[in-house]
């Protein structure tokens, strides 16, 4: 699946398009005409749900159950992207039709619905899953039925599948730059690691600990604690933090626990303008529940913040809020979910086909210049090259970007020395 094999082809296509656009006569044609919907038999040789003017994709997220809190934003972003793509002429001249399924926050149910989307509905691509557990549950299904999954969440890494494009960050992309930054700018030496008790926080903290102990000179971890998902009482651990006085609280708490944690942190008199707190799990979405006042001053390490200043984002945010309400906020995962349909469209057009194997082959090297986070590119390991940014939480629930890596950070799902 190296990029080179297809380079001549795509170069040819690009030249051809430039040539066509340059022709005055071509400019008069309706847009769809030059995208020239190729014959269905040509773009679909494996029995996907593609007709002469439509192509069917699946959206698979939890819209009921506990995970609906987090996954709603992803559904909204994917629907926005698809609507925009359809407006601009669709993919290979075909309008995208959506079949939406509810994972219902239940992993076996995700597998069941994934199977339905692939085996029964023959979706050309599926945008979905949020938790690692749901992705792990559907992965064998996608491999067996040879489907294509665009997965939006930042996650622990340690995985790479031919049938998945990971549009969120794997752990090292999100962790290392943030730790370096806090060590460099704040001179922080001691870290207290916190997390919800499941694989993503534990793996992320493991990577963070290795980095702190092996790569940041003179730095140490002074405490590490995990809480069951849904835990709501943090006063004891807050006392422990007070006792150990770490320079940085490194918090990877998820879901409803977040709200409890920050409210209780604030109430315990820990002032985040004095005590450095770095999180990789609180996006703008979570701040709505936590309340800006409770978390103002905390730092988050993400690749995207709603407040990013760039032309793409300045179009994306109003479009999103026009579609889903002026008060809707956009978090890191929501933006990553928005990338999925676009990346798939670009890949299909580069491959000139919806066939899964051709999409897989064409994926490495796909560039999306219109991403709200800025330019991204698909790596050969199916993750994205993207920048890492640090934001400071403000009272109004937004993040102010205080740092941004100068280059794209390479995705490294199996980081040597961190395992």
């Amino acid at each position: 699946m190296s990029d080179d094999a297809h380079a001549p082809h795509s170069l040819f296509r690009r030249r051809l398009m430039q040539g066509l656009v340059a022709l005055p006569a071509a400019a008069m044609l309706p847009r769809a005409a030059w995208a020239a919907s190729p014959a269905t038999a040509a773009v679909n040789t494996t029995g996907l749900a593609v007709t002469d003017d439509t192509v069917t994709v699946g959206i698979l997220h939890s819209i009921t159950g506990t995970m609906a809190i987090s996954e709603t934003g992803s559904v909204e972003a994917e629907k926005l992207a698809i609507a925009q793509i359809n407006e601009s002429g669709g993919v290979l001249g075909r309008q995208i039709k959506i079949i939406q399924e509810d994972g219902a926050s239940d992993w076996p149910n995700f597998a069941e619905k994934a199977k339905k989307l692939l085996a029964s509905d023959h979706c050309a691509a599926v945008f979905g899953c949020w938790t690692s557990a749901s992705r792990k549950a559907v992965l064998p299904v996608f491999e067996q039925y040879n489907g294509m999954l665009y997965y939006p969440t930042f996650y622990e890494g340690l995985e790479q599948s031919k049938n998945v494009i990971y549009t969120g960050q794997e752990a090292t992309q999100q962790i290392l730059a943030g730790l370096d930054w806090v060590n460099r700018t704040k001179g922080s030496k001691s870290f207290y690691l916190l997390g919800s008790d499941y694989i993503w926080p534990r793996t992320s903290n493991k990577i963070a600990r290795k980095h702190i102990e092996a790569h940041l000179t003179g730095c140490k971890v002074v405490g590490e604690d995990y809480f069951p998902l849904g835990h709501t009482q943090f006063n004891s651990v807050i006392n422990k933090i007070k006792l150990t006085k770490p320079d940085v609280i490194y918090a990877i708490i998820v879901g409803g626990s977040n709200v409890a944690f920050y409210k209780q942190l604030n109430a315990a008199g820990i002032d985040l303008s004095k005590q450095t707190l770095l999180t990789i799990s609180v996006t703008e979405d979570e701040i709505v529940g936590i309340g800006g006042k409770n978390i103002a001053g905390a730092f988050a390490c993400m690749k995207y913040f709603e407040s990013l200043k760039n032309p793409n984002n300045e179009k994306f945010v109003p479009a999103f809020q026009k579609m889903w309400g002026a008060n809707t906020v956009i978090g890191d995962v929501t933006q990553a979910a928005y990338l999925g349909p676009w990346l798939w469209k670009l890949t299909a057009e580069k491959a000139g086909s919806f066939d899964i194997d051709k999409i897989v082959a064409a994926s490495p090297g796909i560039e999306f210049k219109g991403a709200p986070e800025g330019y991204v590119r698909i790596h050969e390991n199916h993750h994205l090259w993207s920048k890492t940014r640090v934001g400071k939480a403000l009272v109004n629930g937004q993040y102010e970007v205080v740092y941004e890596t100068s280059d794209l950070v390479q995705p490294n799902p199996f980081p040597k020395g961190y395992q």
Partner: protein
């Protein structure tokens, strides 16, 4: 882990840790009081108890929005209005549910469990349809946030204090109502012998309905208080339900004192263990200990027979 700290530091931490235990204790009592009334006095297993709490939280959310829009100058006191509203709304819904559902099931306590589980699914979806699947943020007035500095090194959370005060008031209220004003006697009479209670002039239906409403209303107040320390989302109520039931069962269902004693024991154990162990292990150990004790002394803790 306590090596290398000065006595003063340790003293402050101990004080704050003791206070953390007290806050957890208040939270547990508040969670369990409503259920103690419903399960303890009436023998009904209300699996939708958590959803009634979240109803209180949503009422508080709406009240805060109303105050921000129409009475911003009085925002500082909106919380007290919200508590009262939460009690009324959750209590009213509770009475409605009793009338429509629970009264048909008094002879089948295990079936109330299933029916109220169905109710909890419906309520969750109602919240989701009205307020959206995401969490809502409930703003607090500034005076309710942050900590009170007792000394330089001892800080006491203000919201914890408010929960404690609220819990004390409600516990006293329930105590007076159930044990001092004869209401409890009527409830117990109805439970012991419905026909006889009716014959001696007790309006049994009214007693049932008001008792259930009262329990749900208290759940509403608990939900309102929890907006200060926890999350408000359609499914947040589920987080509380196992803990709440265990506290009530551990205490011995009928006695208010038992509920309070069990909340105290569980909260202190959990808060202490969490300080020395990780949160997950602390929770497992406490749950196992509670079950073990229940096995050793069921007769001492189960003081009340469920209505059959």
């Amino acid at each position: 882990m306590l090596a290398g700290y000065s006595l003063g530091e340790l003293g402050s931490i101990m004080a704050m840790q003791g206070f953390a235990g007290l806050i957890l204790f208040s939270v547990f009592v508040l969670m369990a009081l409503g259920l103690a009334v419903i399960f303890g006095q009436m023998g009904v297993i209300n699996m939708a108890h958590g959803e009634f709490m979240i109803l209180g939280a949503y009422v508080t959310f709406l009240t805060s929005k109303l105050f921000t829009t129409y009475l911003p100058q009085a925002f500082g006191v909106y919380f007290f209005v919200a508590v009262v509203l939460a009690f009324i709304v959750a209590g009213a819904l509770g009475m409605l549910v009793e009338w429509a559902l629970i009264r048909r099931l008094y002879k089948r306590p295990l079936d109330t469990l299933l029916a109220t589980w169905g109710l909890s699914l419906i309520l969750q979806q109602v919240y989701r349809s009205i307020f959206g699947a995401r969490e809502v943020g409930v703003d607090q007035p500034d005076w309710m946030m942050g900590a009170m500095n007792i000394t330089n090194s001892i800080q006491i959370p203000i919201n914890g204090l408010i929960v404690m005060v609220l819990t004390t008031f409600i516990a006293i209220g329930v105590y007076l109502l159930i044990f001092r004003m004869g209401w409890g006697k009527q409830v117990r009479a109805v439970m012991a012998n419905r026909a006889m209670a009716g014959a001696v002039g007790i309006d049994t239906e009214r007693v049932d309905r008001i008792t259930f409403g009262l329990g749900c209303g208290i759940a509403g107040i608990a939900g309102s208080a929890f907006t200060m320390i926890g999350s408000t989302s359609p499914t947040a109520g589920q987080l509380y339900i196992v803990d709440t039931f265990l506290i009530v069962v551990f205490g011995g269902a009928a006695s208010l004192a038992g509920t309070i004693a069990s909340a105290f024991a569980i909260s202190q154990a959990r808060s202490t263990l969490e300080f020395f162990l990780s949160g997950s292990m602390a929770q497992v150990i406490v749950l196992l200990a509670v079950i073990a004790i229940l096995m050793i002394r069921p007769q001492g803790l189960f003081v009340l027979k469920v209505r059959r």
